[in-house]
C-alpha cells in the first residue's frame, strides 16, 4: 500500500459513472468548472472497475441506473473495499438504494452547479488532506 500525499494545489480526481452521454457531459463540465479533475466518465460497471484499478481516485459520483438492468452497486462495493468515498447520483432519490449502501448520500438529478459544489465539498475530503491509495 502506498501513501499518496496530496498537495493543496492538486485538484481532487473524481470518478464519474453515468451511462447517458448528454448527462455525463453535463456532470463532467460542471466538475471541471468547479476545478476538479474528472476520471471517466464511465458508462458501464466494467469501465468503472477498470478505472478504479488504473487511476488515482479521490472520490466518485455514481449514477445508479446504468441502463437495462445494470446498476452501479458493484462499483460502490469496490470503492468501499478501497476506502474511497462516493455518492450516488440518481433521479430516484433514496428509495432505489439497496440496504448495504443505504447510508450513502444521494444527489438528485437534475442539480445546479452550486448544489453540486456543496455536495462534493461535504462528502469528499478537502483537497488539503492526505488520502491513502
Amino acid at each position: 500500500m502506498s501513501v499518496h500525499l496530496r498537495s493543496p494545489a492538486m485538484p481532487l480526481r473524481l470518478l464519474v459513472v453515468e451511462d447517458e452521454a448528454l448527462v455525463a457531459m453535463l456532470i463532467e463540465d460542471q466538475l471541471l468548472e468547479l476545478g476538479f479533475e474528472v476520471v471517466g466518465p464511465a458508462a458501464t460497471v466494467g469501465q468503472a472497475l477498470t478505472l478504479c484499478k488504473k487511476e488515482q481516485i479521490d472520490g466518485a459520483l455514481l449514477d445508479v441506473n446504468l441502463g437495462g438492468d445494470e446498476r452501479s452497486y458493484p462499483v460502490a462495493d469496490e470503492l468501499d473495499a478501497l476506502g474511497i468515498p462516493y455518492v450516488f447520483v440518481t433521479g430516484y432519490g433514496q428509495a432505489g438504494i439497496p440496504e448495504r449502501h443505504a447510508g450513502k448520500a444521494v444527489l438528485r438529478k437534475p442539480f445546479a452547479l452550486s448544489e453540486l459544489k456543496r455536495f462534493v465539498d461535504r462528502h469528499f475530503p478537502c483537497s488539503g488532506s492526505p488520502s491513502i491509495g
Binding site: E20, A21, A24, M25, D29, G40, A43, Q47, P110
Partner: protein
C-alpha cells in the same frame, strides 16, 4: 418462530368427530342449495365456530390446496400458510375471534403443486338475534394477477420517474452547451431549440414502444425529418434492421442531429443539389466482437474548406459513441462534405432485429 398454542390442538379424534357432527347438523336445512352455491363461487370459502374452529371448507379449497378435511379442520389451515406470514396471520385472526370484529388480511397460500398464490381473505361473523357470534363465514380471493399488475405498474412508474429526471438533466446539458459560444439570446435559442425538439421527437418515438427502444432506421428518419421538409430525395438511408435501447437511441439520434445541423448550415443540406447518404451494415466476422458500422457521407454540397470542427456536436459524437456505446467515431470534413464513420460493438443497447 414463536409457536402459538391453541387449546384445540390437543383434542381427541372422538371430540373432533363430535364437533363436526354438531356443525353439520346445524347445516341440514337447505344444504343442497348451499353446497351448490359454495362450490360454484370463484373463491375459496370456509366456516368456523365462534372460537375460530374451522369445520367446513368448500370444494375449491380442497381442489386448490390438495388437502382433506381431516388435515384442515380446526387450525390445520396453518400448514398451507407461508412461514414468513403465519405469525401475523394467526395474531390478526385470533384478535377477530376474540373481539368478533370482521377480519381481513392478505397472504400467500400454498397450492397442491407447491406454488404460492396471493389471496385477499375476509371473514364476517354471523350473529344471533341477541348479537352473539354463532359462526364465522370466510373467503379467500386469489389476487395474484392483480398484485403482479400492481408490481409492474410500480416498476413502470419508477422507470418513468427516472426517465423524467434524466431527461431534465439532458435538457440542462443541452442548454449549457448551447449557451457556451452563443453571444446573444437569439444565438442561444437558435442552437438550443432544435436540440430540444430533437429530444422531444425521439422521446415520442420511444414512447410508441413504451420505452423499450427504437429501430435505428426510425431514429435516423425522425431525426432528419426537420432538415428535409421540401426535398425528400436528398437523403438516402439503407441498412439492416437494428434495434437500439432507449438511451442509445437518444445518443445516436443526437449524433445525427448534430451532423444534420452542420450539413444544413455549411454542408450538403445547405444546397439544393446536395446529398446525404447514411448506410449501415453488420460486421459479424473474424473472431472479433460483432459490430455495427454506420457511415454518414455528404456529397454534391458546396465546396467547403477542410477543417476539423470542434464544437459541441463533434465532441458529443466522439465521446457519446466511445463512452456510452463503447464504440469509435471518426469525423472528417472534406471539400465535398462531411463524412462520419461510427463503429459500435453489438450489446444490450445495440442489437440485431
Amino acid at each position: 418462530m414463536p409457536t402459538i398454542v391453541f387449546p384445540m390442538d390437543k383434542i381427541s379424534k372422538e371430540q373432533r368427530r363430535e364437533r363436526r357432527l354438531q356443525a353439520e347438523a346445524a347445516l341440514s336445512e337447505g344444504e343442497f342449495n348451499f353446497h351448490l352455491l359454495a362450490d360454484s363461487i370463484p373463491q375459496l370459502a370456509w366456516m368456523a365456530q365462534p372460537d375460530g374452529w374451522i369445520f367446513w371448507y368448500n370444494q375449491r379449497w380442497y381442489d386448490y390446496t390438495g388437502t382433506t378435511i381431516e388435515e384442515m379442520e380446526g387450525w390445520g389451515w396453518r400448514k398451507v400458510h407461508h412461514p414468513d406470514h403465519i405469525d401475523r396471520v394467526v395474531a390478526r385472526i385470533q384478535r377477530s375471534w376474540e373481539t368478533g370484529e370482521p377480519w381481513e388480511d392478505t397472504f400467500p397460500l400454498k397450492s397442491r403443486d407447491g406454488n404460492w398464490r396471493w389471496f385477499l381473505s375476509r371473514a364476517l361473523p354471523v350473529q344471533s338475534d341477541k348479537g352473539k357470534v354463532v359462526r364465522w363465514f370466510g373467503t379467500n380471493t386469489d389476487i395474484t394477477e392483480l398484485r403482479d399488475a400492481e408490481e409492474r405498474q410500480k416498476l413502470l412508474l419508477d422507470e418513468l420517474n427516472h426517465r423524467v429526471k434524466n431527461t431534465l438533466a439532458s435538457v440542462q446539458s443541452l442548454a449549457r452547451h448551447s449557451a457556451r459560444h452563443a453571444d446573444s439570446t437569439d444565438a442561444f435559442l437558435e442552437k438550443f431549440e432544435p436540440r430540444l425538439l430533437f429530444l422531444s421527437r425521439t422521446h415520442g418515438l420511444l414512447a410508441r414502444d413504451t420505452w423499450q427502444g427504437a429501430n435505428l432506421m426510425d431514429v435516423i428518419s425522425e431525426t432528419l425529418a426537420p432538415f428535409v421538409a421540401d426535398e425528400v430525395d436528398c437523403i438516402q438511408l439503407a441498412g439492416p434492421k437494428i434495434r437500439l435501447g432507449p438511451t442509445a437511441a437518444v445518443t445516436l439520434g443526437m449524433a445525427f442531429h448534430e451532423l444534420a445541423t452542420n450539413a444544413s448550415k455549411y454542408g450538403a443540406l445547405s444546397a439544393p443539389e446536395g446529398r446525404v447518404r447514411v448506410v449501415w451494415s453488420l460486421d459479424l466476422g473474424g473472431g472479433e466482437r460483432p459490430a455495427l458500422e454506420i457511415e454518414w457521407r455528404e456529397s454534391e454540397g458546396p465546396r467547403i474548406a477542410p477543417t476539423t470542427y470542434r464544437g459541441f456536436g463533434s465532441r458529443f459524437i466522439e465521446q457519446g459513441v466511445r463512452r456510452e456505446l463503447n464504440g469509435v467515431a471518426s469525423l472528417k470534413l472534406a471539400e465535398t462534405g462531411a463524412t462520419c464513420r461510427i463503429r459500435l460493438p453489438l450489446s444490450g443497447k445495440v442489437m440485431i432485429g
